[in-house]
Amino acid sequence: MSGTYGAGFAARWMAATAEAVEREAGRLTELDAAIGDADHGANLRRGFAAVADALAKEPPATPGAVLVTAGRLLISTVGGASGPLYGTLLRRAGKALGEAGEVTRTELADALAAGVAAVGQLGGAVAGDKTMLDALEPAVAGLRESFAAARAAARDGALATVPLRARKGRAAYLGERSVGHEDPGAASSALLFDALEEVAAG
């Protein structure tokens, strides 16, 4: 199954992410309460609600424009660490997609890889630091295979943060005490790829 994906698809992805975040906001906040400051759910809910709203009102014409718009809006509405990071992820991915009206899964994976690299550069984290990168990197690698593989890899990556000791973000302040908890940003990244697979599956 290898079709192409247009602006409608990208918009549905964002809408599905908004729904997933809305549904899981409580869990994300609980995860953040354990090793952070208990706002991750509220942050992403506010941001993706704004994204879904804007995209519904004025649907951009290309998948790249959808992601750039989403990224900009996240930066303008989320705040915290996750706002600039998720915003950069999507904005950079959108820019990488260029003006194309339809893109392949591989092109999407390439674009997201550029986005993930930008997140790494911006936040200074690397894999294993117990951040969203621990879900994003494997997810993008999986996406080269299939949407389902991306989803599974994101989930696994998120769960694999549990035994890690945080070296970046707020959880790093806890030192050893951060061990044993799932990173909230990794958990929300998994939602992004849940939504992507669901939308792709129709």
Partner: protein, 328 residues
Amino acid sequence: MLINVPETVVADALRGIAAAHPELTVDVERRVVVRRDAPVAGKVALVSGGGSGHEPLHAGFVGPGMLDGACPGEVFTSPVPDQMVRAAAAVDSGAGVLFVVKNYTGDVLNFEMAAELAEDEGIQVAKVLVDDDVAVADSLYTAGRRGTGATLFVEKLAGAAAEEGMPLERVESLARRVVRRSRSFGVALSSCTTPAKGSPTFDLPPGELELGVGIHGEPGRERRGMMTAREIAEVAVDAVLDDLRPSDPVLLLVNGMGGTPLLELYGFNAEVRRVLDARRVPVARTLVGNYVTSLDMAGCSVTLCTADEELLRLWDAPVATAALRWGR
């Protein structure tokens, strides 16, 4: 909680600030608070901001002699670049703007983006990063030390320097000097409760405490059975002095986290002073109160800043904000 709904807590507070403080201009919609007389001709402007829940920081420190503008984010969430750019544009007289940034990933990233955007708009921007919390390991491979109580010292002292007419690069280097000379350590006797979560961020049974906490309801480095004020003062002061060996008299901030009664804070100040006396660290000025808070968290922090003659002069200089006010 004394709120309407969690979603409007910050906007509601801004309406309340506007109603109480005619000397401030409050843009409730865009979440920017600036002094009414901004921009002040020829003066370097100071802008700070961060998550809400630390009041009076930062909006309570907007006014002559301290900040020109503040951007409050959601509770414990860094504000967004749009707010910072707007604040910078509102207060810049052409002499440039200093962003005072507490060292948290979110604040750093958002202020960085804002600085780029503001410079695109032709505003000269400098930044100072406040990272005073000795409970946190400081290295390239961590997020670095958190910014806590020293923020007050930076905003007051750099604010006074700007008011005196110092140019941007001198205000900036003074602010950096204050950061270099300041260290803090915090203790929680209870968690705080954010409006969004509605229950305590972490469980802390009465009779236990968390050593080395920040100001976002995050647990600390270590949990202990209850200690007396005297014991807590020893731990906190010695943690600070491990990292900062004051050569000169210090400015001392004995700060409440929001839920600790002033009665207890003053008692704690007595114990802090006792430890400092024993360690032969002279105290030049003391400030006791709830200034850099964590919502309703019970607890306290100690911040020391090694002063010198210039810093003492700037500390004593007039300031007229909602929460800090002295001099002519």
